[in-house]
Amino acid sequence: MKIKDCILIEAFKCKEDESIIEVAKKLRKITLRHIFVVDNKEFPTGIISVVDMNNRVIAEGKNPKDLKAKDIMSRPIEVYDINETVEEAYKKMAEKKRVMGAVVKDSKMIGIVTIHQLLKGMEKKNE
């Protein structure tokens, strides 16, 4: 079974050059705690959490108007190809102690896969 057979979450993403204020507005609107950062070719390069906003902007006393997504994002991140098997993806995710990851198709981010979906996929395969 491959990632393409799993149920994915719509890609929640922003551009590397997007201002932090815009990113914060997106996070407020969607109410998720993480947003993926993609480059000009839509390939995921980092991730920003609301904790990053707090620790790397507010706590540092930086002006959010001067910052872009790429300045505060965590990187590198694990990227999963849609044709990767659920076993391979789970192994990578578990090693990095992550619970979700960006999924790409033809090197473009198309969604998010959770560890829960990967486990479900492995369970389905073993039935």
């Binding site: 990632i3 393409k4 057979d5 799993c6 149920i7 994915l8 979450i9 719509e10 929640f12 407020r28 609107k29 969607i30 109410t31 998720l32 849609i82 999924v103 198709k105 198309i110 969604g111």
Partner: protein
């Protein structure tokens, strides 16, 4: 051989004996197998029309060659036995038989060559060489071996037929495998699109802008009330 006989005769044989075709059937569901079988039947039928129909509708030439082949075989066999009783005359009868069979081969070979040229079968020259070699061996052995004449008769025109049938089956097989690959690619393309849940499903209602508004209004109202009291 007519189309129906050809299609029915080779359909099951191709499904069970050809490993590429068998593989496709083994990996398909019952419903898919029905579609695959129908497509293979169509491929065989179409291939027959393109490659074999004209050849097997041999016309008067095929009747003449069949007549010559049978009478030639009869004379050949009779000549072999009469040789012991009549000596040279028996040998002469055998000779007539061999000439008749050679004429039959000539007719069939010309029919085959015409057909092969029309279809542009590039292997024709090597096929011709092989068939000619077989003919020489058969004719020569007919003089020495008692049953070689019978074997020659049984092989008859089939040595040409086999070449045409092989080409026809190969063409049908290629068509069928192309179809199976196309179906597989289409199915894969449909499967490739994963199911994606929209982000709206993950919104936390406690943190939406709508949820924060009433709190602000209430606070504003409270302040307004406070101001009025103070005033």
């Amino acid at each position: 051989m007519n189309r129906d006989k050809f299609v029915e005769g080779y359909l099951e044989r191709m499904i069970t004996k050809d490993k590429d075709i068998r593989k496709r059937f083994e990996s398909s569901t019952e419903e898919e197998s029905i579609h695959l079988r129908e497509n293979l039947r169509d491929a065989l039928s179409h291939s027959y029309d393109v490659y074999a129909k004209e050849y097997f509708d041999g016309g008067i030439g095929s009747y003449v060659s069949t007549f010559l082949r049978w009478t030639g075989a009869g004379a050949d066999i009779a000549g072999s036995y009469l040789f012991f009783a009549m000596g040279g005359a028996g040998f002469g009868i055998k000779g007539i038989g061999l000439v008749e069979k050679s004429l039959a081969d000539l007719i069939d070979s010309r029919h085959w060559a015409k057909h092969a040229k029309k279809l542009g079968l590039t292997e024709r020259l090597s096929d011709d060489a092989k068939i000619s070699a077989e003919l020489i061996a058969e004719r020569a052995s007919a003089y020495y071996l008692p049953f070689a004449g019978v074997a020659d008769l049984l092989r008859g025109r089939s040595k040409y037929d086999k070449k045409v049938v092989a080409k026809t089956l190969q063409y049908a097989k290629n068509n069928f495998l192309d179809y199976a690959k196309r179906v597989e690619a289409e199915e894969e393309a449909v499967e490739k699109e994963p199911k994606i849940i929209p982000l709206d499903n993950f919104r936390n209602p406690d943190y939406t802008e709508e949820a924060t508004e009433p709190a602000t209004i209430e606070l504003g109202q409270y302040r307004a009330k406070g101001k009025r009291k103070a005033g």
